[in-house]
């Protein structure tokens, strides 16, 4: 046996086979967790864990999809010598996106895996302060889990308010520092200067749960399911067309049609699927063979992101649905940045005029112009995400846009 294997206490634990990984323990309690996964290898050498994470290809599951190992390395290398300059790790379970429920389900059913990942991330970065930020229901579950073990007593729990941008990384830091979950202007990366000026890692709770599994079972095991560019498993929240926010664990790179079919959606009766949530993009029903991977989704302007799929049934008008979402997003601006506060409502209202029908043929170009005006001009990426969604609407529902401008809706036949 090599020394490497001896440093990882794998006990008699059999790595989960197939796609049921994160919920393989079957129950939220510590005994079930330990029986299925064994103890977290908290003594693992930082270099070894970082190497496994890099080889695993694990990316962030909060939306941005940033490589996990890079984030941890950045905080580790920015660390100073004192407690005041030691890194901070924050598990982010805020999930402000209304169409997402996977982080809540994960924290309620597998809190120990998230705590393991959080403690491992803390160990690997040399963090002296560890937080978990989420809604009250999720925190109650985490609190019960912490009470069952002795190594997680130091985890500070912070309650996240329930609105769209409350999970944005700088809003998370701001919430913990000041109690106000609003994004901040950032001139330096959080990994260099975040909470109280310390190097800070804000990592999605699902990402951390995967860290806990990679630390135990290694990168090769992680990659044994999924595709090359979307390895491992990924939690998906699927809703729409009669399905109310179902969470599944799916193999990476799953074709959209299979993911939708898995929750019982009839894919022959769909108009389009919104991939990546309200900051995501539409994929038309003709293209449901597309896989949930960055490579396949790129032409649509979408990303697997936080694994959100919203199906739009063919009895609905894509434009009308999009106006509702654009207005919602405009109302979720944290009201700090001029271009966002003014530009998002303006953009939503011009889109609404397109949908209302019979308007000027110049309206779609005005929507595009406003999208260009707001993009990149906020303290957070809310304007960018909203603009991306609106541009995707104009592109994927182009035929509907033309019909509406001509005073006719193909769906409602009015």
């Amino acid at each position: 046996m090599s020394t490497v294997e001896m440093t990882i206490p794998r006990a008699a634990v059999v790595p989960p086979a197939g796609v049921n990984r994160l919920f393989a323990a079957g129950a939220a309690d510590l005994a079930s967790h330990l029986a299925r996964f064994g103890p977290a290898p908290l003594g693992i050498a930082p270099g070894q864990l970082l190497g496994e994470l890099e080889a695993s290809g694990l990316d962030g599951r909060g939306g941005a999809g940033f490589a996990t190992w890079r984030k941890l390395v950045a905080a580790r290398t920015s660390a100073g010598p004192t407690a005041y300059s030691a890194p901070v790790v924050i598990a982010n379970g805020a999930e402000g996106e209304p169409m997402s429920a996977k982080d809540e389900i994960l924290l309620r059913h597998a809190p120990h895996l998230v705590l393991d990942g959080l403690l491992l991330a803390a160990a690997v970065t040399g963090a002296r302060e560890v937080h978990l930020y989420s809604g009250p229901v999720q925190l109650a579950s985490v609190r019960r889990a912490i009470a069952e073990r002795t190594d997680a007593r130091g985890v500070i729990l912070d309650e996240a308010p329930d609105y769209f941008v409350s999970g944005e990384a700088s809003a998370v830091v701001s919430a913990i520092e000041t109690g106000l979950a609003i994004p901040r202007d950032r001139r330096v990366r959080l990994a260099v200067s975040g909470l109280g000026g310390r190097p800070t890692v804000v990592s999605n709770v699902e990402t951390l749960a995967h860290v806990a599994l990679v630390a135990r079972f290694g990168a090769a095991w992680f990659r044994s399911v999924g595709t090359d560019d979307s390895p491992g498993t990924r939690l998906l929240t699927i809703s729409g067309d009669g399905v109310d926010r179902k969470v599944i664990e799916a193999t990476g790179g799953l074709p959209l049609a299979e993911a939708l079919g898995a929750v019982g959606l009839d894919t022959s009766r769909l108009r389009a699927v919104l991939v990546g949530g309200y900051h995501g993009a539409w994929v038309p029903a003709s293209d449901l063979w597309v896989r949930l991977s960055s490579r396949d989704l790129e032409p649509y302007g979408a990303r697997p992101g936080a694994g959100i799929l919203v199906a739009l049934g063919d009895q609905h008008c894509g434009l009308a649905a999009s106006v509702g979402i654009a207005r919602y997003l405009a109302g979720q601006s944290a009201r700090q940045c001029g271009p966002c506060v003014n530009g998002l409502p303006a953009m939503a209202e011009v889109l609404a005029r397109v949908a209302a029908g019979g308007g000027s043929a110049r309206l779609p170009d005005e929507v595009r112009r406003l999208a260009g005006v707001v993009t990149g001009r906020g303290a957070c990426r809310h304007p960018d995400g909203t603009a991306r969604f609106v541009l995707s609407t104009l592109e994927v529902f182009e035929a509907d846009v033309r019909a509406h401008l001509a005073g006719y809706c193909e769906v409602t036949r009015s």
Partner: protein, 77 residues
């Protein structure tokens, strides 16, 4: 010579447009009065011929919303 970039803190800027007076036509006002440079967002590269004006804008911005920084990787995480 290091390249300079002007960072706009949108949470502070109130769009009164003093910077656009100093830095036009590099910076223009959008329809609500907020500074905008074609093709750029919160970080606007400043050509050397505009560095003096950019310094003035930083010093005179009533909301302290502007900073001049040396160009590095994008300041996001």
């Amino acid at each position: 010579m290091t390249r300079q970039s002007l960072h706009i803190d949108w949470t502070a800027c109130d769009g009164r447009g003093l910077c656009t007076e100093l830095l036009g036509p590099l910076l223009v006002r959008d329809e609500w009065g907020y500074p905008r440079a074609a093709g750029y967002g919160s970080d606007v590269p400043i050509p050397s011929s505009f560095v003096a004006e950019a310094r003035d804008a930083v010093a005179l911005c009533p909301r302290l919303a502007l900073t001049l920084q040396e160009v590095r990787a994008p300041a996001r995480s």
